[in-house]
Symmetry: C2
Subunit: 166 residues, 2 copies
DNA sequence: TGCGTCTTCGCATCGTTTGCGAATTGGCAC
DNA sequence: GTGCCAATTCGCAAACGATGCGAAGACGCA
């Protein structure tokens, strides 16, 4: 998204007002490379401006979204994530912990919708790609857990059914 | 997803029971090429079996999802969509009316996550692709609306601001 | 037919988001 | 600086999709 200074001009030009609440949110969004939820932004904004309302955060996010300054992302269940990164990019998401990261992807324009007839005249103008998998941390944690299970099984001779086995 | 008969065997083999509610849902899901919501399935199931509970629909969908018989999809806000199509495919979605269609896509394995270092060890094992755009119906409707506006503007000389202009 | 477990289903509840409207405030004209 | 007015904030109610819970009912097997 654009800088707080630029957004200030854009807002003014549209007859919208520059409030301290909006300034805080502009700044927070401009500075992050994450994909915060409304609640996360509310928490961060509350540090700088105690008393700011969650309602205002939602309202400002809706405005910025409709102005195209942020994208609203949805990954399955849970709250919406907001993406201030305006570059042409896609996402990877960890199945285990839900972590999201940006990823630049090559070869997108070589994707070919086959079976064009079944598209029935649909005209795509954008594409979202999400890679699903496991992040490095969760992979490490999983290996550690396996090691523990193995150790336990090897060490102990009791035929207990491991709790997390299924 | 598999046929109702096959699912019956699978369920029985796992000690799960075959109830009329499940049979109705198996059948509805097996026969559709759409991406129904829980509410939609509830409505359809209620036709064949008045009195079936929405709770049961949710429960059965959760089971089928965890068994891998259906996929749960999320497109922005709104309720989850369930996809009984087990083939390797992706989706197109109309920005205007929300309609969803399956699309087979070639070239998926030629996608290259660039900037591999910033992936920080993330290991993708699946990818979801959604094409965004406008479906044929909405494109037609939009053309028709534009024609109406043009006609009105041309015919009338009053400098009224069109209501839907912004 | 009888029993035990699995299932159904209504209701309460939860987490996220939006509707509403009174009170407040930014920005401009003077 | 002052006053005005539209834009904004914000608390609360409520919508919405989904889940937890547990009493009542039904499937499947002996
Ligand atoms: Mn992003
Ligand atoms: Mn599909
Ligand atoms: Zn993870
Ligand atoms: Zn459409």
């Amino acid at each position: 998204m654009r800088s707080p200074a630029e957004l200030t001009e854009v807002f003014r030009a549209q007859g919208l007002k520059i409030t301290p609440q909006r300034q805080v949110l502009f700044s927070l969004l401009h500075d992050t490379d994450q994909h915060p939820t409304a609640e996360m932004l509310f928490a961060a904004a509350s540090d700088r401006m105690p008393g700011i309302s969650l309602r205002t955060v939602y309202q400002t996010l809706t405005e910025l979204t409709s102005m195209g300054e942020v994208r609203q992302l949805a990954f399955g269940s849970g709250p919406a994530r907001f993406d201030p990164n305006g570059s042409d990019h896609h996402h990877v998401r960890c199945r285990t912990c839900g972590a999201i990261r940006d990823v630049d992807v090559g070869g997108v324009d070589r994707l070919e919708p086959l079976d064009v007839e079944s598209l029935g005249g649909f005209e795509p103008d954008a594409v979202s790609i999400v890679f699903h998998g496991r992040c490095a941390e969760c992979a490490r944690a999983s290996v550690a857990a396996a090691a523990r299970t193995t150790t336990t099984t090897t060490t102990s001779t009791t035929p207990n059914t491991p709790t997390g086995g299924a």
